[in-house]
Symmetry: none
Subunit: 255 residues, 2 copies
């Protein structure tokens, strides 16, 4: 049961270059060679290659694969856990990149569609659909169908002017929030302004306002990781700070 490079390569579904490379880096050496220097692989090497490819399929680096297959009592579990961590980190990074892309894409869409009546309408509908998909279930449970529908209706009913105001307010909330975080506490002048701006922003889509609902939303910013992630992307702790601003603001409102 001996194989030449090509035979083993075909058997395992890799290229001969790969096998020569594995030989070169000492990951998989042939059992021996012919007089002419041809590599010859045996059953042991076939098994070892299977193992190697198994770990390679999980995206592991060859260096680590070597450590695993070289020592049979290697702590495989820890290696797998650490590898999973590395994969998770990579995916998180990709998620971040995706969000950045989405946002600039949205900005682009926004600017383009703003100047285009029809597409502008479609955009609003899309936003609502996305909102529904993300938060619809929970929001409806928490605030009731009527409130959610009213919010959607208000969004749909927005004119381009109102839409601009809505977006501008949203951006101003963020800007002021960041400024307030740098300069002081949620109870400061700026902190209260954040709360006020946020209320105005809400006013664009909420049909009725109540301090209680406002505070509840603030709590959700901290409790729900999707919201937290959204605000914290601007600065860690931003969601929490915003919640505190809202608390301070509503406390003042109620005297």
């Amino acid at each position: 049961m001996e194989y030449t490079v090509k035979q083993l390569a075909d058997l395992a579904g890799v290229s001969t270059r790969t096998l020569r490379y594995y030989d070169q880096i000492g990951l998989l050496k042939p059992a021996g060679t012919t007089e002419a220097g041809y590599r010859l692989y045996g059953a042991v090497e076939v098994d070892r290659l299977q193992q190697i490819l198994f770990y390679r399929e999980m995206g592991m680096e060859l260096e680590q694969i070597r450590e695993i297959v070289n020592s049979p009592d290697f702590d495989l579990k820890e290696a797998l856990l650490s590898h999973r961590d590395s994969l998770l980190r990579k995916r998180n990074r990709l998620d971040q990149l995706l969000e950045t892309v989405e946002r600039s894409l949205a900005g682009l869409e926004g600017r383009i569609k703003m100047s285009d009546k029809e597409k502008f309408e479609g955009f609003k509908k899309q936003l609502i659909a996305e909102n529904e998909e993300k938060y619809g279930q929970e929001a409806r449970e928490k605030y009731g169908d009527a409130a959610v529908d009213a919010s959607n209706a208000k969004l749909l009913g927005m004119s381009e002017e109102e839409w601009k105001r809505f977006s501008a307010l949203g951006e101003e909330v963020i800007r002021t929030l960041l400024e307030a975080m740098e300069q002081g506490s949620p109870e400061s002048e700026l902190g209260l302004k954040v709360g006020e701006l946020h209320r105005q922003w809400l006013g664009c889509t909420w049909s009725t306002y109540s301090p209680e609902a406002h505070v509840g939303l603030g709590e959700m910013y901290v409790a729900d990781e999707r919201f937290t992630a959204y605000y914290d992307q601007y600065r860690p702790g931003a969601a929490e700070f915003l919640r505190d601003c809202i608390k301070a603001y509503t406390a003042k409102l109620r005297g």
Copy 2:
């Protein structure tokens, strides 16, 4: 407003090497140089660098970034969309890898739990639960409740010793199967051994054995894609080969 490499690098938060590299590949050339050959960057270059870094933050390749920043009327939207696609594909791939890792981790956990009495019991129950979920319905239809329950009971009643024998036999079936596939036909010496091993393995959980039921199970390995996928992961065609081994073995049994 002129900057040397280091000044611009510090300003933008990149390394001087990066700037020299961008110069080298023609992505960002300095406005001019001093007599001594020092690079000098102006306001235009600062802006351009900002742009470059913006797209770089989304994980774009420099080549594509160049295309974008070089022509102001470049179809940015399409570029972003295509980039988003590429990111999504990468993330999907990561998800796949993660699933593979999770699965082998789960397998590992399984083996570890073997050495722990309590968890060992839990594991058996879990296995039964999984079996029930996957095949329970069909198995009960085909073989009757009594047979299935008996099999489950036998599994639950296994001692650690018996369990080890069960697993070891299972592995041996696979090993022998792969060997047989390499060397010959299901009717060969090895092929028959596969059938025999498989019967022994079945004996661990089946209360009674009949060649007919054995063959029926073999057919199911080919007909049911879940079984097929399980065996074919070791090598394409393994499920079919196993079925043929079983056929050959039972044929011999019956004379």
